[in-house]
Symmetry: C2
Subunit: 379 residues, 2 copies
């Protein structure tokens, strides 16, 4: 018997781009519309968020735009980052440090290639309990046969090396796209987690071939890679270790509960339509306004709607040890199955002071396609 | 010492889309501008060219637009094609039959999946000396892990099976993109050839990620695949068998001459800019106006400019046993190295009766980028 409604705690998105300026003002209020009440914010602004003061100023802007969302901030890993700044950031509640390989993603020109120079920083982060967030791709290099299709898999030895060097440092491999990544993260210890996006649960390489709104970094890969992502969120045994941290209702306790170190991080990354439908598209898929409806549809189609709550609401918070503002701890969202006439909006207008902005519109994931679930009660 | 000019026979393009209507009228006169005097024309019009009369009518249109080009026509393989039509086509000088897998490329919805139903047709083609042109891709199928990245490799057993069933039938694997395809064609007998496009000698998967003007089917693949294509056109031993057919000057006879069964077929496929820079781009790269300048630049950068002539001018004609109109048999083209200021035009306007057309413009390969070679004497 298929389930027609589902009520779950407001979700936690452990990888989110909220941008700056007009785009930030449009996107940030949409976080809660998508059913998300805890958002872990990426630092790749221009200039990047590279110190505590910048992070806190940015957080303040976001909180004003979305007072019902609990924001956790990150710093951008660069040679300018000092051990003292890590201590200061930790005391200020900044939760992690994000590493981008040079040139791979938006505003990552100052990214890094050789992690050993950062070992003193990682040591300090380990001591402080801060999380290292890795964009796990090696820059393309034809000489070494590295391209967007294997850039993640070629990165994985770096992850293993880092984990071996800092076994107590919490490391999150962001937006995993490959079977190899899933297998490695499973094999590594309890301090290594992994975010999975909405769109990578749905797309393969064919879907971004000529389709710029499905183009992101890392790119979606082979069908067997997508299967590995789908399987890890829909199956697996809940270990006693994690069960202690997770508030699951008895009905949710089963042998197939997802994997506690694989959790939601949407990597939602809005770009104006004009920078997507052009000769050289920006990378990023925009899912923020409909995170939980998308996920309900995907999990439903996989026959594992009962696994959605752990993936979207519990596992990430348990891994990070983070919680929401007290008044939202018990916030819930109810989704209901919809008629087939409900479709994802074709675009969202970027406005400034209520007027249309020169930035135009942003096209969401699955624009114009039917969506089988909608939020009928938010928080 | 680098060579600053090169004179070679007018080239032969053994895979070309010239479209219909306004687009045809724009593109067809560009064939000779690109240095090409023999063009082998694809039948995927709407409706497809499926019989002799259609092919001859289309040929006549093309000849009026480009009297200095020798056109060879093909039929579209479909269940409607009869043995009688094959005999008739052969007598009318139609050179080949093109097979598209269902749904893989432009206007291929009527394409095929199971070749055995066509065995009587192939037998007749073998007897008539007609060539079978294969778009070598299996339709994507997530259940079988088939996607655009491995669709060609997964097709290759079909090619081998066909060759074994019809060892005397000339078969051309069109627009090869993978190392596996190059290796298989090399391994098969002298009746199996392979076209290689301009753009697949240059692009990898990264180049069409978010870049619709580099998106085509089959898609460009890994760096090691591109290397295999580059190697097969730049190295290899000319066999005595083929040397008999090829008019090479003694200076061109060396141990590294390319491979006689790998030759130029541009698959140049113009689409209006509006159908490329959009949410779901059409597949195809447009190279017709600058075929020989592109190739000179690529072969020059590979250090094998002396291999260009065999690849672009001789091997294809020798494989097919085709020649140009007598008055163009000795036509030559001279290219010269250019200054760095010369760039590929940003677009070509599609005009109708001298007026701008509603179809807009077509963006050529490498638009706006410097081109190191230009044609200084055409035919």
């Amino acid at each position: 018997m298929s389930q027609d409604t589902i009520t779950l705690p407001a979700a936690a998105d452990f990888h989110l781009h909220l941008r700056q300026g007009e785009m930030m003002r449009m996107v940030t209020p949409m976080v809660s519309k998508g059913g998300v009440s805890l958002a872990y914010i990426m630092p790749n602004l221009s200039p990047p968020i590279s110190n505590t003061d910048q992070a806190l100023a940015y957080k303040k802007e976001l909180e004003q735009l979305a007072p019902n969302v609990t924001f956790y901030m990150t710093l951008y890993l660069s040679p300018q980052l000092t051990i003292e700044e890590i201590r200061k950031a930790s005391k200020a509640g900044i939760a992690g440090v994000k590493s981008y390989p040079r040139g791979v993603t938006t505003n990552s020109d100052g990214g890094i290639e050789n992690y050993e120079v950062y070992y003193p920083i990682f040591k300090a982060m380990e001591e402080e309990g801060m999380v290292l967030n890795l964009h796990g791709e090696i820059p393309s290099d034809a000489e070494s046969d590295i391209c967007v299709m294997n850039a993640e898999e070629r990165f994985l030895p770096q992850l293993e090396k880092l984990h071996n060097a800092f076994p107590k440092l919490k490391i999150v491999l962001e937006h995993a796209t490959s079977k190899a990544a899933v297998e490695l993260v499973k094999r590594l210890g309890d301090t290594v987690g992994c975010t999975i996006t909405v769109h990578h649960l749905q797309l393969i390489v064919d879907d971004w071939a000529g389709q710029p709104h499905h183009f992101c970094k890392p790119v979606a890969k082979y069908p067997h890679d997508r299967s590995a992502l789908q399987e890890v969120v829909s199956s697996g045994k809940l270990t006693v270790f994690y069960a202690r941290f997770i508030l699951v209702k008895p009905s949710n306790l089963s042998l197939r509960t997802g994997h506690p170190r694989f959790f939601l991080g949407t990597d939602s990354a809005p770009h104006p339509r004009g920078t997507k439908e052009t000769s050289c598209a920006h990378a990023g898929v925009f899912t923020t306004p409909l995170v939980l409806p998308y996920l309900a549809q995907i999990f439903d189609s996989l026959g594992c709607l009962d696994k959605l709550e752990n993936f979207a609401c519990h596992f990430g918070k348990a891994f990070y040890g983070l919680s929401q503002k007290p008044e939202f701890e018990n916030a819930t969202v109810t989704l209901a199955r919809t008629s087939s006439e409900l479709v994802v909006p074709n675009e969202f207008h970027i406005s400034q002071d209520g007027q249309p902005s020169s930035l135009g519109t942003v096209v969401p994931f699955w624009a114009g396609k039917p969506l089988g679930w909608q939020i009928v009660k938010d928080f």
